[in-house]
């Protein structure tokens, strides 16, 4: 069976043989950009449909079922429709900031998306400070949200943006600390190293398991990361920034047409990205599930046969489904409850968990 690294190196060699160097490099860049962009948009369409279908089932409805078989083409139709909608310009907006906010929201989400590893050899941005890069670049989104709220010349957007800012920066701390707990275990910030440490054989001849199984307190960090990550995507029960019954649509009230579409796109993809990072750092990325016991060798063999990208997508979509379940089950928090949860519960636990993990690593 062809692996992704073989396909990629074949393309690379074919291009460098046939064309002059600079042209081959340019074409490779275009291929990378187009592939990532295609994946980004297709995932957005799938996620939007998935959410609408699942939300409908939670509320005892059927959900979209008119466009295409079982409503599968609904989000494609929505995308075309949103392109055809008028872009309304509001009086007295700060036009430059208003537009910049769009770019920041999309750039933050797209650049984080590029740092995910979708399968064996399917990595785009692979810095040796990968975890740090992800934390840094994903916080561009909050700047976008603040700018959007500030520049819209609307009271609702301003309140929404301020709430969103307070929420995002607070929960970023817990998310960072729980990722750091896993960095202690891996001893490296690079995403490739983190994934490599969760599979294959170790020095004693046994299998490396996922990090969540490698240390007893890893599960705490995992749960904290899921809560904090869910809060960072601005989705219920943490959806105060766009609480529709209080603030109409929060920070993107004044965006219309395709401009609104971008915020929508970024929000859905952020959900996928958070799930993807959790799957990578805690659940082994594209590494298959291996059980470290003599009787399980057949099982391990079988799991190893499943392609790596199916492992990554499977884990990520499982976490996405979990986040959808949470969103449609819990009622919205108040802002004092939200900040109390972060600063008085999650923060102390994550700092304590970090210390416990450090002690565990030394022993």
């Amino acid at each position: 069976m062809l692996t992704f690294s073989e396909i990629i190196s074949t393309i690379h060699e074919g291009l460098t043989d046939a064309l002059p160097g600079w042209l081959a490099t340019t074409i490779e860049y275009v291929i990378i950009g187009a592939a990532l962009l295609g994946l980004y948009c297709v995932l957005a369409l799938i996620l939007i449909l998935l959410e609408r279908k699942i939300c409908a089932r939670f509320q005892c409805r059927i959900g979209p079922n008119r466009v295409g078989p079982w409503g599968l083409l609904q989000s494609v139709a929505d995308m075309v429709k949103i392109l055809l909608k008028e872009i309304i310009s509001i009086k007295n907006t700060d036009n430059i900031l208003f537009k910049t906010a769009l770019f920041l929201a999309i750039a933050g989400s797209f650049c984080t998306f590029g740092a995910l590893q979708f399968g064996d050899g399917l990595a785009c941005i692979d810095f040796n400070v990968g975890v740090f890069y992800i934390l840094a670049i994903s916080s561009l989104g909050v700047v976008g949200i603040l700018l959007a709220g500030w520049s819209s010349n609307n009271k609702y957007t301003l309140i929404g943006a301020m709430r969103s800012g307070a929420q995002l920066i607070s929960y970023e701390l817990s998310a960072g600390l729980s990722l750091m707990t896993m960095v202690l275990l891996s001893g490296s910030l690079s995403i490739s190293d983190i994934i490599a440490g969760q599979g294959g054989m170790n020095a004693e001849g046994g299998y490396n398991t996922w990090y969540i199984f490698q240390a007893p307190t890893a599960i705490i960090a995992f749960i904290i990361y899921l809560i904090a990550g869910h809060a960072e995507t601005n989705r219920g029960p943490f959806d105060l920034p766009e609480a529709e019954s209080e603030l109409t649509a929060g920070y993107h009230t004044e965006y219309s047409g395709i401009q609104f579409g971008f915020f929508y796109l970024a929000e859905y993809l952020n959900m996928f990205i958070i799930a993807g990072i959790a799957a990578t750092v805690f659940l082994g990325g594209w590494q298959p599930l291996q059980i470290n016991a003599g009787w399980a060798s057949g099982f391990n063999e079988l799991m190893g046969q499943i392609p790596s990208w199916i492992w990554f997508m499977g884990k990520t979509f499982a976490l996405v489904l979990l986040s959808l379940w949470v969103r449609w089950t819990f009622p919205r928090l108040r802002i004092d409850q939200l900040l109390k949860l972060e600063w008085k519960i999650l923060m102390p636990i994550s700092i304590l968990n970090l210390l416990i993990m450090a002690v565990w690593v030394i022993i």
């Binding site: 490779e28 860049y29 990378i32 950009g33 187009a34 990532l36 962009l37 392109l83 909608k85 008028e86 872009i87 310009s89 509001i90 009086k91 007295n92 769009l102 999309i106 750039a107 797209f110 650049c111 785009c124 941005i125 810095f127 740090f132 010349n153 609307n154 009271k155 301003l158 301020m162 800012g165 307070a166 920066i169 970023e172 701390l173 960072g176 600390l177 750091m180 960095v183 202690l184 001893g187 490296s188 910030l189 109409t248 009230t253 004044e254 395709i258 401009q259 579409g261 971008f262 004092d336 600063w343 008085k344 923060m347 102390p348 970090l354 210390l355 450090a358 002690v359 690593v361 030394i362």
Partner: protein
């Protein structure tokens, strides 16, 4: 290809995507204007007063707290990376650092900065 180059490619792709979609939207979408359309949305009634109004000082307090903790989180990352080779001595030094950090949190807690009033 280094990751830095790919990062620039990804960033440029994101920008091109937004610009292209905005242009397509401009070309395809209908355009009409009237006096009411440009009003900021406010439940259908005309806007009252300025939109850049006062908001709660509480947000500012949390921003300051965040700044303090975030900078110290950045300082902890290099330690976390080489923790295994540092051993017990590294842990003791960082425990002291974390103690000061937690002291800050405890002070803010005691002062009531974490309450939303």
């Amino acid at each position: 290809m280094s990751s830095g180059e790919i990062f620039i490619v990804v960033l440029v792709t994101a920008i091109i995507m937004v610009v292209a979609a905005l242009i397509i939207g401009k070309l395809l979408a209908p355009k009409s204007t009237n006096a009411q359309k440009g009003e900021p949305y406010e439940c259908g009634i005309p806007t009252r007063g300025t939109s850049w109004m006062q908001f709660k000082i509480g947000y500012y307090l949390f921003a300051i707290l965040f700044l303090m903790f975030d900078v110290e989180t950045v300082l902890l990352f290099p330690w976390a990376t080489i923790m295994k080779s540092l051993g017990a001595m590294g842990l003791v030094s960082v425990s002291f650092f974390l103690f000061v950090l937690v002291l800050g949190l405890a002070y803010a807690w005691k002062k009531g900065a974490l309450e939303w009033k």
